[in-house]
Amino acid sequence: MSTIGLYNYWIVFFLMMSGLYVVIVSTNLIKKIIGLNIFQTSVFIFYISIGKVRGGTAPILADDITLYSNPLPHVLILTAIVVGVATTALGLALIVRIHTAFNSVDEEQIYTSKDSRD
């Protein structure tokens, strides 16, 4: 397969790197969570695309279907999506509490506040 033929991996690669970049670069905690989400989404797409069988249909039980896509990666990634939702919810909940405690959601402001330096 040519480089263009593997376009799904290029998309995954692009999303993964942009997600990680956002996590590393932004100081706003909410943006960090958004970056983390993009990063995780890239893995979801990766799993879904490896389950595709060329010419295969949806894996539904019917008489005239012989070739169907591999449903297992989809099921796996469903679990990972749920985990991702849980992580996002927990992250956002932490941000809400950080906002009440420090009155800011910006990392630089939080770490320069009075008691944050050791």
């Binding site: 706003n28 909410i30 949806a58 539904i60 039980l61 469903l78 749920v82 919810a89 956002l92 909940a93 809400v96 009440t100 959601v105 910006d106």
Partner: protein
């Protein structure tokens, strides 16, 4: 929210259909695309839509937060409970074949109950997440006293992160 008559009417029409569709996705999951996760999210979304249109207080009267918390625990207990029942009936953990005398029907019943457990948990966890995030601001406001309410609103406007919402 009293003035949004279109929203209210449409929501009242849509919510029963959403909940019904969730039940369809839930119980038709054995034969077609669907299952507990998807059904739970749709079911939860129905309640969240209700809360968005009719307000958090009204929704909390419809399903109380303690009920929501209890149900999200109960779903997990149902899931794990099916596993324990199959232990007592002499199979391995989560072996549905032993649930009924006929293994095929046992498998059918087993996956139905398991997916129901998943669905209940997902639906009520969605709602409780919504309660937690939507209700947090009210708790905060109550703490600071109703007289300071305006100050808080102004403070959040001045907040650079508040503007981008």
């Amino acid at each position: 929210m009293e003035h949004h008559i279109v929203l209210r009417v449409v929501a009242k029409l849509l919510i029963p259909i959403i909940l019904l569709f969730a039940l369809y996705v839930q119980f038709h999951g054995d034969y077609g695309p669907g299952g507990g996760f998807q059904a739970g999210v749709i079911f939860g979304a129905g309640f969240i839509l209700y809360a968005l249109i009719f307000g958090l207080q009204t929704t909390k009267q419809v399903i109380s937060p303690s009920f929501v918390h209890g149900m999200s625990g109960a779903g997990v207990l149902l899931y794990a409970g099916v596993g324990v029942i199959s232990l007592f009936r002499g199979g391995n953990y989560l072996d549905y074949s032993v649930l009924l005398s006929d293994p095929v029907h046992g498998q059918h019943l087993g996956i139905m109950l398991i997916e129901l457990g998943v669905g209940i948990t997902v639906a009520f966890v969605m709602v409780s997440l919504f309660y937690a995030f939507a209700g947090y601001r009210q708790i905060e406001l109550r703490k600071q006293g109703s007289t300071k309410q305006n100050d808080v609103a102004q403070a959040s406007d001045a907040d650079p992160n508040g503007k981008r919402q």
